[in-house]
């Protein structure tokens, strides 16, 4: 009797779980983050020499199409808005399943987060688009509070209320339509103010324990999987971040500690906040807001980074290769989209 009940209960749960898993893609929001992750992680057959990881700073800061057009570097931007560093670690592991030994560029802005977990919506934008695997289970277990985990295993439970607002796009969504941007997406506003937070300080502040542990995990992964790692901090006015709850109080001082950790581990760290003059950035005109570059700032910064990568790493120029013929078209399309947006 008990065995029968247990067997039937398990069967019932498996059926419900299968239905939820099958319908979760339908209910998940069809935003660009979904399109780019599905393409970059699973659907595209392109090989990337450089993978760009991190938060919105990276998402809107480095344009793979510029790296391609100016230097022939094949790259993809996997960054998503508000992505905590622990999510970045598991997303990187997912990327490495398909792309072996690329140069990994990690945006370290989210090392400043002191909260144990990121904002649910931001974490969802990344993890909901990762296929089910042991890596996803570990990501959910470590990046999501206990009482929300079920909603990440079965995103339909989170988005079920969309039953009344599903559109044709939800049924026929084609992630390939956003691939041309290679994961990049920046705003077209002008911040209009100067950076008031920058200070050439020698002060050092601790990296919060959880984010430090994930920084060490990323460094450990680079040694274990034998890929070159570049830590990067993109231009930002820290004034609001320093005041924010759940964030370190002195970002500049924390990044000095990041530099020490990188040096100690033999990892490169490029703090672009210290190099805005070299890049030629006009903070008021090239930023979308206090924390994010706009498309004009992103072109300058991407160009600077491409040059840095070419000088410091052995990266092939793929522009004449037939396998990348489509990339020139994608560049044109991205320029057209930028012009339209701007």
């Amino acid at each position: 009797m008990v065995k029968k009940a247990i067997w039937k209960s398990c069967l019932f749960l498996v059926i419900i779980g299968t239905i939820l898993a099958a319908f979760s893609p339908l209910f998940t929001y069809k935003i660009d983050h979904r399109g780019k992750l599905l393409q970059g992680l699973y659907k595209s057959d392109d090989t990337y020499d450089v993978v760009l990881m991190g938060s919105s700073h990276m998402n809107g800061g480095i344009d793979p199409n510029v790296l391609w057009h100016e230097y022939g570097i094949s790259s993809f931007n996997y960054a998503t808005g508000g992505q905590p560093i622990d999510v970045t670690y598991y997303l990187l592991k997912e990327v490495l399943k398909k792309h072996k030994n690329p140069l990994v560029v990690v945006d370290v802005y989210y090392l400043g987060m002191t909260d144990p977990y990121g904002v649910s919506g931001f974490v969802s934008n990344a993890l909901d688009n990762v296929h089910f695997s042991l890596n996803k289970v570990q990501a959910i277990h470590n990046c999501v509070p206990f009482d929300e985990r079920l909603f990440y295993y079965f995103p339909m439970l989170k988005y079920h209320f969309r039953w009344s607002s599903l559109t044709q796009k939800d049924f026929t969504y084609d992630s390939a339509s956003v691939y041309y941007a290679k994961g990049f997406g920046a705003g077209t506003s002008h911040y209009g103010k100067q950076d008031i937070s920058y200070a050439n300080t020698q002060k050092k502040d601790a990296i919060p324990p959880k984010t430090l542990s994930y920084l060490n995990k990323i460094i450990g992964l680079s040694k274990k999987e034998n890929f070159p790692l570049l830590l990067i901090n993109l231009p930002c006015d820290y004034t609001d971040s320093n005041k924010e709850d759940g964030w370190v109080n002195d970002c500049e001082a924390m990044f000095n500690t990041v530099a020490d950790v990188a040096e100690k581990n033999g990892v490169a760290f490029l703090d672009l906040c210290d190099r805005m003059d070299e890049i030629g950035l006009d903070f008021s005109q090239d930023m979308n807001n206090a924390g994010h570059l706009n498309i004009w700032g992103a072109v300058k910064t991407s160009d600077y980074l491409g040059k840095y990568l070419k000088e410091n790493y052995s990266l092939s120029d793929h522009r004449s290769e037939s396998a990348y013929a489509q990339w020139n078209e994608d560049y044109k399309k991205s320029q057209a989209a930028s012009v339209a947006g701007g």
Partner: protein, 494 residues
Amino acid sequence: MSFTSIQFLIFFPAVTILYFVIPQKARWAWLLAASYYFFMSWNPYYAILLAVSTVVTWTSGLLIGREDLRKRPNTVRRKKIWVALSVFVNIGILVVFKYLDFFCGLYAEILHIFGISAQAVQFDLLLPVGISFYTFQALSYTVDVYRGDIKPEKNLGKYALFVSFFPQLVAGPIEKSKDLLPQFDEVHTFDYDRARKGLLLMLWGYFQKTAVADRLATLVNTVYNSPQKYSGLEVAVATVFFAFQIYCDFAGYSNIAIGAAQVMGFRLTKNFDKPYFSKSIKEFWRRWHITLGAWFRDYLYIPLGGNRCSKWRHCLNLMIVFAVCGLWHGAAMTFVIWGLLHGVYQVIGLLTRPAKQRAEQKLGIRENSFPVRLYRAAATFVLVDFAWIFFRANSLWDATVLIGNLFRFNPAALWNGSLFSLGLAAPDFWAALLGIAAVTAADLLSRRRDLRQSLLNRGPVCRWAVYIAGTMVILIFGIYGPLQSPSQFIYFQF
């Protein structure tokens, strides 16, 4: 830990499986530990109050029992003292935690009427969930022992389990000791059919709560939180929606509680029996919150004299019982008015009954004819729903505004789309109406047959189709999850 939380969906199967695995001797202790854990998950300090009520009523039972054994000359007087002490302590705790601010405010207002200026003292004590439920259940034990309906329970642990049994701890059904206490000595083996029935009832409860009540709540909250903004049809729709919201919310909780207990082998008392099909207010109170109605009947109405007294005393008894019933629901004048309104309905029904019967006889109206039954059910619903305005309104002033606005006729709301701007867009509004229709249809069908048994008699394909479809309906149409705001069960606050 709410029944609709993920924690409960892990807690309940874990507690149930272990309940059947561990030896019979230890089962009550396991349930007691699980029940206190369940209760303490809201606030660990609540457990102190629960334990005090438990120890006081248990001790009173033992002392009353001892008086019976000794048979001394003034036994009855001594027994009454123990009952009075138990009532004093338990009602005292209830008053301090639930009514102190209300009574202080009332006192200040009365002084103000007489021209004396006084500032009401506010204590703002945190109201422990379910305090009114477990206090009434514990008090009934003291009175039952006094009346000789049950022998005193010697095992404090088992008695503590009676007061704290987790399925019905925070919102009932309020069980009588003679019904529930002996069940903790029964040997429960796992019964597959019983478990299926229990789980089906829980599934229905979850549907009522998450898919119907919480969806209706969105529109109700919009209108009732800004009463001056809405009129006529909007207020009427919100008030009808509230009638079904509170029914589905509370009956949903009761069904989950009864179903969960049934899976483990316990029989809890039915708490709702198609209340909106009642043909009189008197009948409504036999069908709505049945265990609370029974409590007031046995421990207040009958001791006051019930109906075995003069007509005027009978009317007074009814008004007292319903005033207290209103106050039991909440420390606010809105609840008292709601209770008194039900008292007035009953008194008017009582006083006009002879005239009504004479008129029916003269006009040749057959009491059992369908049109008469339909008219009576509709009239009863209108009266009950009107009273719900006071129950749901945030203040007496809001209630009067809503009633005033109810009669500002605005039929254009039917076609100008304003009904879809009250928090529920058109698809959700229709889903809400479908939910009401489903609950009403289930009530209607269950008058003639046991729906759960009918389903279980069907073949496996039909059964499994219903299990899976029912679960998916809850998962898709339910209000839950991090991106929606599910409501707390309404009766938790009482």
